[in-house]
Symmetry: D2
Subunit: 140 residues, 4 copies
């Protein structure tokens, strides 16, 4: 992928409000592929049972989806996300979500995303579908 696109997306993620709230870092970005990480912080991300909230898990998955989907330098918008929860991460675990593109047409693109903990245990899997607007990303 173009280096200026990668740099632009990296910078956008550094400034992105929701990613900052969750403590998400973009650690890898290539054409149609992305890896993002965060440390699961129970004091901010737990649910009513003292487990990681589905929304926090989903937030990391969605960040992988979002970054992979913009990697060709045009704006893509999330249409549908399907998440299956497999296991609950341990407090303090470093979590990584990896997205990869499995298809791309003029107007749509689809992704598979896996979320693993730092022991390689599968936490959640996701299928996601984006609409491709065709417009260049605005902060290039």
């Amino acid at each position: 992928m173009e280096e200026r696109v990668r740099a632009a997306i990296r910078n956008a993620v550094l400034r992105e409000p929701f990613a900052r709230e969750l403590g998400i870092e973009l650690v890898f970005l290539e054409d149609g592929r992305s890896r993002v990480e965060m440390v699961y912080d129970p004091s901010r991300q737990d649910n009513i049972y003292g487990r990681a909230h589905g929304g926090a898990i989903f937030g990391l998955i969605d960040e992988a989806f979002e970054t992979a989907a913009q990697s060709d330098g045009t704006v893509a918008v999330a249409m549908n996300v399907n998440v299956t929860y497999i296991a609950s991460p341990d407090p303090g675990a470093r979590l990584a979500a990896e997205a990869h593109e499995i298809s791309k047409t003029k107007r749509t693109a689809s992704y598979e995303i896996r979320l693993l903990d730092d022991r390689g245990r599968l936490i959640a899997v996701c299928q996601a579908l984006a609409f491709r607007t065709g417009k260049p990303i605005p902060f290039l």
Copy 2:
């Protein structure tokens, strides 16, 4: 539903770390039904394009799912969620997610969740599936 269950879930949500981060309030809880609300705060919930992050939208949806799924006083665990994004909310909009149970067996329950803004515009819809452990909720 039992009043002590409703009170216990209300209290649990008040103390719930992720719900506090997003500013989520539980405003209605009945057997298999729930309504939660939050004000969409761009300074904390935006994505790289200055729109509400899919993870923030989903966080509210998941809270509706979670509370409705515990309303019979036993612990239910999220297995699968499918979210379709319809529209992007306006900054500062008060968002509401409503869950209702569409089926329940001994071990599973399924829900439909709708997220609307304060003008009644549909923002997202969700189908969600929970595993019912049968165990009483621990903080009763």
Copy 3:
């Protein structure tokens, strides 16, 4: 909706190979809404356990989706379907799937579909997403 569009879709379903295999009838079609029915025939539609095959159940759901999605007279193509199975129908039951549109933009439309048996019992629910090509349906 336009009567000539309804007539064209009705005729197309009457000639549609897969609908004929399953014995599907289109019984109602309005703007963004459709109802299709079939009699569940164990001798042709069962799975290895003598229950209705998921593919037969889904075939009826998909027909409701397909017909509702073409009801504005332009070609729409299925992108994503999410099916949750609730109960198994009884042999010989008349099944009905109803689709209704919950959103429509220039390029996408989303639907909820419910499948019930003739006693009103919920068999399956579905969320479905279509891409709208904007082209008029060819057999008008």
Copy 4:
């Protein structure tokens, strides 16, 4: 996996009404993995636009899911299936759906399924979730 389980599932598929309607063959079955194939027959499987009906595509995917999910010799029941359609197969193409298990707990198991044509082109992808009853398959 146990040979008598594989033989029992193979035999069950040979007699399975819906698989016979679609012309599905089970060509591979291992622990948590399965491959099924069928020739796409437009005269029986087309939709109103002369393309493969979503229900026919789904039927093959579901067969891969079903067979993989019974491969440990106990009965599993479909709870949720999420399909993303990527491309439309050519008339007469031999289609193959491969399922593999990505997680298994006492009561649930989840699968990814891919459907490809005989040129290796991706036609559809699927995430699927099964409930594990724990009961031995009855025709062993």
